[in-house]
């Protein structure tokens, strides 16, 4: 095995050099940093600790940060593969390490390489809605993000000197008629650009026609808006058409309310143009019409500055209950929507009533609402 590998490597390309590795490493470091920061941000928005508040505006902010998270991860696929190819001869270095420190540094490469491959593979599989493993995507992607970033910090610290030297050393590389460094790096950049163009139309609407590999098309779905969980998948098909349906507003209120669909339709409505933004990186803007949550809270006699939990008819889901902080409750564009793009909500968009609030992930825009708990 080792001998065969060494024979293969004997005729290796001059591109397995330190400068090529350093240039790719810097690009990859930037890409992984963007992914880590936007990913942690998205996690904080979904499960906010007490010290964290996420503003209600600008309404497009989460759409940009999460779109960037997914787009950067996709663009990092060719960067990572090229980087691993460039440094691959070191994998067969003999002896494997000289000294304890170097050995530990090499050991840290296992979580770095395995972790980086896992982050990109699991991310791509997730946007393809493919779950070939036996564990939950979100927890695994989150845990490995910290492990990989930790291993990356060790690696950057260990290689900083070498990288700076390599970046300062602008000696041309003799490639004897083979692929040049510029050609190689240009090809890698072209691959990153190509994957970006082929997918980013899932959130940048004008590019939807050229994004032939986009996991979503922002114009395809019921009422021209994509759906992540259908009414069938959520097992609410019967509950949402039950004539006994009432929206209950209770909790810390003076007058608890119980409103039928007709009651809801007769209340003053407001229209807002807001994006639905999925954590999977797609987004689509819709015109939503419904009752501001704040107005409903005032109607029930809740206090100004009240926080609200919105609860779905959906029984088994970790996103069944969505919390709205006081700022979002006050924002007039935080709606209990009855209509999308001029028509009553499609069952898959949350009929009879769904939550739509500015600048937050789609998983928190709870559908098929049955209860508003004022706190």
């Amino acid at each position: 095995m080792v001998l065969a590998a060494r024979r293969l490597l004997r005729f290796r390309s001059p591109l397995h050099d330190t400068r090529t590795a350093a240039l790719l490493g810097v690009a990859l470091g930037v890409a992984f940093s963007i992914c880590f920061l936007t990913g942690v941000l998205s996690h904080l928005i979904q499960q906010p600790p007490s010290w964290f508040t996420w503003p209600t505006g600008p309404v497009w902010l989460y759409r940009v940060t999460q779109g960037l998270h997914v787009a950067t991860g996709i663009a990092a696929v060719p960067l990572l593969l090229a980087k691993l190819w460039t440094v691959y001869p070191h994998f067969w270095r003999w002896p494997p390490a000289d000294g304890v420190a170097a050995g530990l540094e090499r050991l840290a490469l296992l979580p770095l390489v395995g972790g980086a491959l896992f982050m990109l593979a699991s991310g791509v599989a997730n946007i393809a809605l493919w779950y070939p493993w036996g564990f939950g995507f979100r927890d695994a992607h989150w845990s490995m993000a910290w492990v990989t970033t930790g291993a990356l910090a060790v690696h950057v610290g260990a290689k900083l000197h070498l990288t700076r030297q390599a970046l300062a050393d602008r000696q041309p590389l003799e490639t004897h008629g083979g692929l040049s460094r510029r050609g190689f790096l240009g090809g890698v950049a072209a691959a990153a650009g190509m994957l970006t163009v082929a997918t980013v139309g899932q959130t940048v609407r004008p590019l939807r026609a050229v994004s032939v590999l986009g996991p979503r098309d922002p114009a395809v779905g019921p009422q021209g808006v994509p759906v992540n969980k259908s009414a069938t998948a959520a097992r609410v098909r019967e509950a949402i058409v039950d004539p006994a349906y009432r929206l209950v507003v209770d909790g810390a209120v003076e007058r608890p309310l119980s409103l039928s669909l007709d009651d809801l339709r007769s209340l003053p409505q407001r229209e807002a143009q807001l994006p639905i933004t999925c954590v999977e990186g797609w987004s689509a803007t819709g015109w939503w019409r419904g009752i501001p949550v704040g107005a409903l809270v005032r109607m029930a006699g809740g206090s100004d500055g009240a926080e609200v939990d919105v609860v779905s008819l959906q029984r088994r889901s970790s996103f069944r209950r969505s919390h709205l902080d006081a700022d979002r409750v006050r924002d007039p564009d935080t709606l209990l929507a009855l209509e999308l793009n001029g028509a009553p909500l499609h069952p898959d968009h949350g009929f009879p009533v769904r939550l739509i609030a500015p600048n937050r992930p789609g998983v928190l825009q709870t559908k098929w609402i049955e209860r508003v708990v004022v706190r």
Binding site: L8, L84, S143, T148, G183, D217
Partner: protein, 149 residues
């Protein structure tokens, strides 16, 4: 320039802190052993299967840089498009999930790649024939490395 020790020390301190958060989180998860298996498995699959194959193919095409770049682009896009083309995530109840014909999309991207490779090879061939003194053809050939400039 002697390498300073502080980036190494700082990297280990910061890195082990970050990694600890991840390990603790992974242990709270129900299947940390399975997760570790995937991580190690991906690294092994890359190092012992994917990388040797790519290296071998690279050797075969080392005299044709344009072809090498075309294969690089094609390999990346095929790898990325694989789960979409296979349609593992398709759902009968949600036609807006994976709504496109990804097989056709992949073929279009591959056609664009190889058309670009052919065009570039053609242009390079014409340029290198029409202006032999190399400094005159600064951007004409990608077999010359000028990343130093």
């Amino acid at each position: 320039m002697t390498p300073s020790r502080w980036p190494v020390v700082l990297g280990v301190l910061v890195g082990s802190g970050l990694a600890t958060v991840g390990v603790v989180s992974a242990l709270e998860e129900s299947k940390p052993v399975l997760l570790a298996g995937w991580v190690v498995g991906l690294a092994v699959a890359h190092d012992l299967v994917v990388a040797p194959v790519v290296l071998g193919v690279g050797r075969l095409v080392r005299r044709w840089p344009s072809v090498a770049v075309g294969l690089l682009l094609s390999g990346v896009v095929v790898l990325f498009a694989f789960p979409f083309v296979r349609g593992y995530g398709r759902r009968a109840d949600d036609p807006s999930a994976l709504p496109r014909d990804y097989r056709a999309g992949l073929l279009v991207v591959l056609a664009v790649i190889w058309a670009a490779v052919a065009l570039r090879a053609l242009v390079n061939g014409l340029l290198s024939r029409s202006c032999p003194p190399r400094p005159m053809c600064r951007r004409a050939r990608w077999t010359d490395d000028r990343s130093s400039s």
